[in-house]
Every structure is written in C-alpha cells, then in structure tokens.
C-alpha cells in the first residue's frame, strides 16, 4: 500500500486562514481542490486577534462511494450531518464527505470531494461542507452564528433579521450611506458578554444585486463582476471599496429589526415588536442542530440576547429605496429605542 505524503501546494502563509475566532489550516496535495476551498475560506477577510481556535482540514479527492449521513444532527438542502461519539459526519448530494474529530482545543476534518464536483466547478457543496466546518468551530468556541446583518452608529447598534432574499443587504447599505458602519450583511457571530449581547464581524463584503445601482449609484456597474453563485444574480463586493468608513469589528446590539419585503404595500410600515416576536425573529436567524447539548447552548444565548433587545417590525415595498425618506423616521426610531 502506498501512503501519500501530503504536499504543500502553496507557500506556507497561504495555507492558513483566519475565519473569525478560528485559525484554519488546510492540508491537501491537490492544487485545484486547494484553490476551490481557499476561494471560500478567503472570503473571511476580517482577521481577529489571536488566540484563535485551531481547526485542521485534510482534503483530498475520492470517488469511492460511502453511505450517506443520517441527518440526525442537521438536514440541509444538499447536505446531511450525523452525530458521532466525538465528532460529526456529513455527506452531500453529489458525494462530498466530511468527518470531524473533536479535540479539546479544536477540530480535525477529513474531507473528500468527488472528481465530478471539482471538474464541474460546483462550489456549492464544497461551500456547504466548509459552512459546517466553520459553524462547528465557532459554536465550540462559544459563539453563535447568526444569519443576519448588523449596523452601528454611535451607541445604536441594530440587528437586521430576514430570511435569504429578504432585503438585509439593501437596508444595511442604505444605512451605511447615511454614515452607519457595518458588521456584516448576512454572517455574524453572537455571544453574551458581561450580560450584554455582543455581535462580531466575520467578513466585510456585501452580496449586492446589480440593480442596487438604481438606488445607490456609487456601487457602480456590478454586472462585470462574477456572480456570487449560480443561484443568484448577486455579486460579492468589498464594503470598504465603496464606503471606506463602513467596516466595524464588534458592537452591542440594542435594537432588532424584523424586516419583510412586500409587493403588496406601497409605503414602509414600521411598528413595535413585542418580546416574543423579538425572540422568534432571532431564533429564526440561527441554525439549531437536533442535538440537545448543542441546541441548549444556542437557545440560551439567543434567548438571553433577545431579552436585551427592543424590536421593530419593518415592512418595505419592493421599490422603497427609490425614495429613501422613510430612513429618516426609521433612524429616529432606532435611536430612540437604543
């Protein structure tokens, strides 16, 4: 039997990736695979100060079929994840596999990707696996991943909650144009810090639709940039390349906005959100695996954070930003609650 030695496909400094509080080390002897994984991990451009939790990824191609994971931990549209006694095992629809072994201080992931995925340039399932690697590391490091946006201005920090395609980025960009700073447009980390919720930035890019230019001309022509994924028209844009003042690192949110886009209204509707709805809005922005110990920590953090937040429901018509006068009123209401 030949045991392949893992070669270093890139100079040493390019093997390591800082993804928030994690220090990822990628080991593979496959340059093409390396590039695809590095493309995703490289998006996390916001380096946290050490110490960082070490996570190691050992990646290789393999076409050897193996059983699909059961999904008893997590069921995603293209990936199932099951619990192991000291780790996790994941399988994707097209045959990518990942197995994690938990250590006290970090995790080791062994990832296999079939040739067909790499050859077809199908990044989505590789991204799915990496998303599991990252969220697992962040959670085990005491952070709760939040699929939300956050902006801060002085003492006022607002968490913006909406499902995918719900307008988080557009509202965040609209606030940034008015002098707010941004922590993220869809990926944040949350934890309780001395009894207050704290949100921290992971990356400073916006996923912007090219038509955003109609409302915010300074974003320029985005059509020439590559699509963020095959499923969306959106383009990934560096925030500071458009609004240099904008990136922020961390803040204590005081207000939560539950954002809804509606084609059935013609004017923006802003109304208070009671405690129950604030909790519900925040719970819907985080993934809660079907593992009691993991879920307990997430729900505890989210519930404690929600209890400290004041809520607003904001319903915007599809073309609201053509006349952004509503933002005057919204800013006033946010500042009053903060």
């Amino acid at each position: 039997m030949t045991v392949a030695r893992l070669a270093d496909p890139r100079p040493d400094q390019r093997k390591r990736f800082s993804c928030g509080p994690l220090q990822l080390t990628l080991r593979t002897d496959d340059v093409e695979l390396y590039d695809k994984i590095a493309e995703t991990l490289g998006l996390y451009d916001f380096a946290w100060r050490p110490p960082r939790r070490p996570v190691r990824i050992f990646a290789r191609r393999s076409n050897v079929p193996s059983a699909a994971a059961s999904g008893d931990f997590l069921r995603c549209s293209r990936m199932l994840v099951e619990r192991l006694p000291a780790g996790l095992r994941a399988s994707t629809t097209s045959g990518a596999r990942a197995t994690a072994k938990f250590r006290d201080t970090g995790e080791d992931w062994h990832v296999t990707i079939p040739d067909s995925l790499v050859a077809a340039g199908m990044l989505e399932e590789i991204e799915d696996v990496l998303s599991l690697v990252l969220t697992t590391g962040w959670r085990r490091g005491g952070w709760t991943p939040i699929h939300g946006a956050a902006a801060v201005k002085g003492e006022a920090c607002v968490l913006i909650c909406a499902p995918t395609g719900g307008g988080k980025t557009t509202l965040t960009a609209a606030l940034v144009r008015r002098g707010w700073q941004v922590l993220g447009d869809d990926k944040l980390l949350l934890r309780m810090d001395n009894g207050r919720p704290l949100v921290a930035a992971l990356l400073h890019t916006f996923n912007l639709h090219p038509k955003t230019r109609e409302w915010f001309p300074e974003v320029g022509d985005l059509e020439h940039l590559p699509r963020y994924s095959v499923w969306t028209e959106k383009r990934k844009v560096s925030v500071s390349s458009i609004w240099s003042h904008a990136p922020a690192q961390s803040a204590q949110p005081r207000v939560l906005i539950a954002l809804q886009r509606s084609a059935e209204i013609t004017e923006v509707v802003v109304s208070p959100l009671d405690d129950r709805k604030v909790l519900e809005a925040l719970l819907r922005q985080t993934v809660i695996p079907s593992d009691a110990a993991t879920a307990r920590l997430i729900v505890s953090t989210v519930a404690q954070a929600a209890a400290m937040l004041r809520g607003l429901s904001v319903e915007v018509p599809t073309d609201a930003y053509r006349d952004p006068a509503f933002l005057d009123d919204l800013e006033t209401r946010i500042e009053r609650l903060a």
Binding site: C76, S77, H147, P163, T164, W231, I288, A295, V299
Partner: protein, 137 residues
C-alpha cells in the same frame, strides 16, 4: 391522554425537548418538530418538575404548595394537556420517587401559560449557516 392515566404514573420531558430558563419563564424547543414554546414563570415552575420526572399527583401537590387557587385548575390542566398532546413529555424511565422537587416556593403564583409559536423553525434548511427555507433550484 394523561387524564386517563393513573395519577401516580411518572412522566418526564423527552430528551430532545430543550428547556432554556429566562428571567420571566422559559423557552422549550422540541428538536423533533422544531416547534418552540414560551412558558411564563409559573408554567416553568410546573414544567420543571418534568425535567426530573414527576407524577400528576406531585404536580397538583406542587401547585397547591405554590398557592394555586382552584380557579386556575383549568389552566394547569390545559398546560399539562398541551405537554401531552404535543408529546413533549413521555412515560418516565426513571424509577419512582427519590428525586428532589425544585424549590420554587419563593415565586408568587400566577396563572400558568404555555404558548406554542404559530410556525415551527425550519426542519430542512439551506446550509449549516443559513436557516432559511431552501430555494427552489
């Protein structure tokens, strides 16, 4: 239904029902159905008994010790019925007796409430980061 069960049969929360205590009560999340429930303080004082395993006799005795008026019997029954109907509790595997009842007697009694959120959290999601409903691809 629990109403038809012997009062000394023990019940407990299912292991995949996660309870999180809040200042004003608690949240229960059923990891199987992905429904979550808000309990007020008194609701939690009752449901807490099921964390350790309890009988209906003990539940009623505990309610009385907390100062429950007869007028709230219907609310207590409704709470237990909801726990049972939604399968949040099951027959206990712990042998009878020997478990301490949590001391919640310092709490003022109020009518217990349990409120299930209208829509469950998503069971199938986009990715390990994005809990949204998967888009049609």
């Amino acid at each position: 239904m629990l109403a038809n069960e012997p009062l000394n049969e023990r019940y407990e929360l299912r292991p995949d029902v996660v309870a999180t205590v809040l200042e004003d009560g608690a949240v229960l999340l059923d990891l199987e159905t992905k429904y979550f429930y808000r309990l007020n303080r008194t609701g939690w004082a009752i449901v807490q008994l099921f964390e350790l395993g309890t009988t209906m006799d003990e539940v009623w005795a505990h309610c009385r010790s907390l100062g429950a008026p007869g007028a709230d019997d219907a609310a207590v029954t409704a709470l237990i019925t909801e726990l049972s109907r939604d399968n949040l509790i099951e027959m206990s595997r712990v042998p009878n007796g020997g478990l301490p009842i949590p001391d919640t007697t310092d709490q003022p009694w109020s009518t217990p409430t349990i409120e299930r959120q209208a829509e469950p959290l998503q069971r199938v999601i986009i990715s390990a980061f994005d809990p949204s409903v998967p888009l049609v691809e």
